[in-house]
Amino acid sequence: MTNNDNHASNADEVIQYVTVVIGGQLFGLPISQVHDVFVPERVTRVPLAAPQVAGVLNLRGRIVTAIDMRKLLHLPERDDGSQVMAVGIEQKGESYGLVIDSVGEVLRLSSSSQEPNPSNLDKRWAEISGGVHRLDGKLMIILDVARLFSAMVEQPKAAA
């Protein structure tokens, strides 16, 4: 993602991130990429699809492909049955919904607190992470949407 590459060189750049929680870990998506946040309802299962595809759903007349982020990140499945949320993003004209646990606040972060992925980060995580932000008391992983999709397109083959 060019965004991230750019502000690595420009220390003063401030990016707004929509923060989400997946399996207890804080993630951030650049606000420019988030179309909407919604509660995924009436998700139609897609047989034979890759495991991380939660299904398809109707969001105000658009068909959205829901991606289960927990599956994608190889996290255990939700078992408490609590309400999940989804972040709507657009990729090459197609609508996707990233199913996450909950949505947090919007953070304005300066790139000075950003660091590249630690070298020992789980490879599957590093694949979709655009870097890490040091926040007070916790770390926020930047979700790189473009890489996330390229990783997913390759994945079905690897899984087969």
Binding site: R42, T44, R45, V46, P47, L48, A49, A50, V53, G55, V56, L57, N58, G61, I63, T65, I67, P76, Q91, K92, E94, S95, Y96, N120, F149, M152, V153, P156
Partner: protein, 919 residues
């Protein structure tokens, strides 16, 4: 690019396509003045427009072509060479136009001298051959124009084409006069030019002048076609995008209407009912109307074919006639675009493979000229396009040979096939029977590409062939792709849409009444009007657990959707059928596009998203299923083995026996050395225990249940366990069976000698703990061999999610002198390690849930504390690939689960420093 130019490009391209067709016709009927007039006019228009727009290169080329055609009009004989040359020129014009379009209006660099001089040479020779009675001025005129630079001076003519009739008359009467002004310098404009021309021929000049005057009155008139006929003023050009947008909007409207209808359906007596009905009708009409705007005659897709056939005819040296029927049949332009290429390919194919050489045709008693017939007509909601040739037909033997060569089917399979089935192989990938690779066909891209393209748009392709009479390919394609009528069905708890076009009928089946589902082996079939219809479970096609499906089918009630794809008819068993609905096919997202079973998705009236079944996907899934049932089963077994291994519950060969009590007991067969039966009289007593003489030594007998009744006569079955020259006999009452099953210990046991209970062959079975019985025979069974004082200090962590193996291996390792801690998963192991427990080695299972052994090992290796620690992999699956995978993950060695000596040896090696992956 300005509007003018884009208008010009569209129009010129259209004109050129017509010219292509007309020229081919003209070649066949050189005396048809009407055709020539038409061609001449079109080329002339192009030339004129080019001049107007300042495109000298195009203009020069068009002019040279026009000149040559002028000669034909004057009676010069039409030669194939000349027509070819003109066609080549037209191709060049097209190329230039294409560049023009991409460059946004600038003419590409380059020279057309080669073509122009050729054209001129022919013009000249045509002239000499032309009737001597032709106007005397003509040669003179042509010599003057025989120069490219001068031709670009055609400007004075430019306004002329606006009123073509006048101009043409002028042309016909005095070509030379019109062209003479060309000799003037470029800068010279209209009046002077005409003035110069005037003395040469006064009368035509008057006309030209008149034309000029007219144009001056209407300088904006740049569209000759619009003025050509009053009809054209009734139609307007609309950008394709506008139509596409309109179509999308209508699609949305249809969806919304469906939603409203759905709501109203739920409310009886709604006041909305009547207006909604009206809305519904209007929507339907609107939909139809917009659809109509997208409709184009299929002839548009055929335009290029006469030219292609002509070129082929020359290249292959076969005279070919192309007949086209039903060119005005209309279909959606989106479909039209997609069908163009497959059609072209099929025509090439027919010309190359289908038609014989003239000599062969003569020998077969046919006319030398081969005929390819292209016809199109409506049938139901489909368009049928047929490409037929009267050639040799498909050579079944050659196809067979090729099939065998490619290994697509075995000889025995071919024997059973009908000719029609064999013909179908030509649609297989990479199949071409052309003996030689020609420039026309036989390049490895063949009918499979055609079939794919046709199937891509929801169509199907079929073929009929009669040896010696010819073959015919029949393409069936839907009228439109945007809105289809679909049947909503339920399978495996989900709803799916099946396009109505492929549904032939619905059959309801019940358990005890006709018709009912019958089975051949496990393949379900249905007797339907004296024919057997192959059946498949929809939920099975969609990847549901086959076992679950089996229990479902056993009830054999449900609906069968009889579908037809190509000439294949089959039944798809679904759980329920709802209704039909007009659906708007929306493409699936990229993530799902690899699923061949679906062609798209849509939003139903009730707002839910539903997947649309692709009939072609179903057909191919069925075919591949049927043809490879065996391979499939093998693969499935493998897959099952892998999945079950991943679950930590791989199937194990178990020996079932009874001892002491009625309930079955089991032990893994791999642990048993032999099954023996001894006459009870052979059992001796010594030192308070039972023994038999076995292979030259005494074998102690152990009873599972001390209360087990000793037999007094007959034979006594027993399981013999041997290790390092020692044997033990485990006395049992009866050996029941050997089964392959998962050993999933569900209930643990506190009783010594029993690991727990598992369900084996649908019965609760006790799994016995050999580790308990072996020391009963020889107290030092485990102790004696590897007793190593040093080993006792070695702490080994055993990680395995299976209780059985933990219980199985712990004593083995302990017996070898290690201090063993067993834990049930990687997570637990991490905890132990984090707690500061120190181990000298880790033995880890590979197939574990959540974190598998590879990942576990990789994670450990990342931690500097464990980088050097010996880690041993233990797996039910031992293959070179998995060993390699283990090496990459960082394992020091890789041992099969049941190879206990191997495990001990490997551990010993690890500690003595001989590290390295075995095998």
């Amino acid at each position: 690019m300005d509007d003018l130019l884009s208008e010009f490009l569209t129009e010129t391209n259209e004109s050129l396509d017509v010219v292509d067709v007309e020229l081919v016709k003209f070649e066949q009927e050189p005396n048809n003045a009407k055709i020539l007039d038409n061609v001449f006019r079109l080329v002339h228009t192009i030339k004129g427009t080019c001049g107007f727009l300042g495109l000298p290169r195009l203009e020069a080329l068009a002019h040279a072509a026009e000149t040559l055609m002028g000669k034909f009009r004057d009676g010069a004989p039409v030669t194939q060479e000349a027509v070819s040359l003109i066609l080549t020129s037209i191709d060049r014009i097209k190329e230039i136009l294409a560049d023009l379009e991409t460059a946004g209006g600038a003419e590409p660099e380059g020279s057309d001298d080669d073509l122009i001089s050729e054209l001129e040479r022919l013009s000249l020779s045509a002239e000499t051959k032309a009737a001597p009675g032709a106007q005397a001025e003509e040669p003179a005129a042509d010599t003057t124009t025989g120069d490219i630079v001068e031709q670009s001076l055609e400007r004075p003519l430019r306004p002329g084409e606006v009123s073509l009739d006048d101009l043409e008359r002028a042309f016909r009467e005095a070509e030379c006069e019109v062209e003479l002004p060309v000799a003037a310098t470029e800068e010279e404009l209209d009046h002077e030019v005409e003035a110069e021309a005037a003395p040469v021929a006064a009368a035509p000049l008057a006309e030209t002048a008149k034309v000029k005057a007219k144009v001056k009155e209407e300088p904006a008139a740049k569209e000759p076609t619009e003025k050509k006929a009053s009809v054209s003023s009734q139609s307007i050009r609309v950008a394709v995008d506008t139509l596409e947008d309109l179509m999308t909007m209508v699609s949305e409207l249809v969806l919304t209407r469906n939603q409203l209808l759905e709501i109203v359906r739920r409310h009886e007596d709604s006041e909305f009912k009547v207006p909604l009905q009206r809305l519904s009708n209007v929507t339907a009409e609107l939909q139809e109307g917009v659809m109509k705007t997208r409709m184009q005659p299929i002839g548009n897709a055929w335009q290029k074919l006469p030219r292609i056939v002509r070129d082929l005819s020359q290249e292959l040296e076969k005279p070919i006639e192309l007949e086209m029927l039903g060119a005005d049949t209309e279909l959606d332009r989106q479909v039209l675009e997609l069908i163009k290429d497959p059609l072209t390919h099929m025509i090439r194919n027919s010309a190359d493979h289908g038609l014989e050489m003239p000599a062969d045709r003569r020998a077969a008693g046919k006319s030398e000229k081969g005929t390819i017939t292209l016809s199109a007509y409506h049938e139901g909601g489909h368009i049928i396009i047929e490409v037929r040739d009267d050639g040799r037909g498909i050579d079944v033997d050659r196809v067979k040979a090729k099939v065998l060569e490619r290994g697509l089917a075995s000889e025995a399979e071919l024997e059973k096939m009908t000719d029609q089935q064999i013909h179908k192989f030509i649609f297989a990938a990479g199949f071409s029977t052309a003996a030689n690779v020609t420039s026309v066909s036989g390049r490895g891209v063949g009918m499979d590409v055609v079939r794919n393209n046709v199937e891509l748009i929801g169509g199907s392709i079929d073929l009929r062939s009669v040896p010696g009479k010819g073959s015919s390919f029949i393409i069936k394609i839907p009228l439109t792709l945007a809105i289809v009528s679909a049947l909503i069905v339920e399978a495996g708890g989900d709803r799916f849409a099946i396009p109505q076009l492929s549904v032939v009928e619905l059959v309801r089946v019940q358990d005890n009444s006709e018709p009912r589902i019958e089975r051949i082996k496990d393949t379900p079939v249905l007797r339907l009007r004296n024919k057997l219809l192959p059946l498949v479970q929809m939920s099975y096609l969609l990847g549901a657990n086959p076992n679950a499906v089996d229990t479902e089918t056993k009830s054999d009630t449900g609906f069968i959707v009889v579908m037809q794809v190509g000439s294949e008819t089959f039944g798809v068993v679904v759980d329920g059928v709802f209704h039909t609905e007009e659906i708007v096919v929306k493409p699936m997202s990229t993530m799902l596009r690899n699923l061949t079973m679906f062609s798209g998705n849509t939003i139903l009236g009730d707002g839910a998203v539903i997947m649309i079944i692709d009939p072609n996907g179903v057909a191919s899934a069925m075919a591949s299923h049927a043809s490879s049932v065996v391979a499939d089963e093998e693969r499935k077994q493998q897959e099952e083995a892998i999945t079950s291994a991943l679950d930590g519950q791989s199937t194990v060969s178990m020996l079932l026996f009874r001892a002491g009590s009625a309930e079955p007991k089991a032990v893994p067969l791999s642990l048993v050395t032999r099954l023996e039966e001894f006459d009870v009289t052979k059992i001796e007593q010594s030192n308070g225990r039972d023994l038999v003489q076995y292979r030259g030594s005494l074998m102690p007998l152990v009873y599972i249940d001390p209360a087990q009744t000793r037999r007094s006569e007959g034979t006594q079955p027993m399981l013999v366990f041997s290790d390092a020259g020692r044997s033990m006999g485990l006395v049992v009452d009866e050996i029941v069976d050997i089964v392959e099953d998962r050993m999933n210990i569900e209930v643990g046991s506190d009783r010594a000698g029993v690991l727990g209970s598992a369900v084996i062959k649908d019965k609760a079975t006790e799994i016995i703990d050999l580790g308990y019985f072996l020391p009963q025979a020889f107290e030092d069974w485990f102790m004696r061999k590897e007793m190593d004082i040093a080993a006792l200090t070695k702490k080994v962590l055993l990680v395995d999610d299976s209780a059985f193996f933990r219980n199985m291996l712990t004593p083995v390792l302990k017996a070898a002198g290690y201090d063993v801690t067993a834990c049930q998963g990687a997570q637990h192991a991490f905890e132990l390690l984090e707690n500061g427990d120190v181990y000298q080695a880790i033995v880890s299972d590979i197939e574990m849930p959540e974190i598998n052994g590879f990942e576990f090992c990789e994670a450990l290796r990342r931690d500097p504390r464990f980088r050097k620690m010996p880690i041993l992999a233990l797996s039910a699956v031992v293959s070179p690939a998995s060993i390699e995978r283990g090496r990459q993950a960082g394992f020091d060695d890789y041992v099969a689960k049941f190879d206990r000596p191997g495990l001990i040896a490997s551990l010993k090696d690890l500690f003595s420093g001989e590290v390295g992956i075995a095998a």
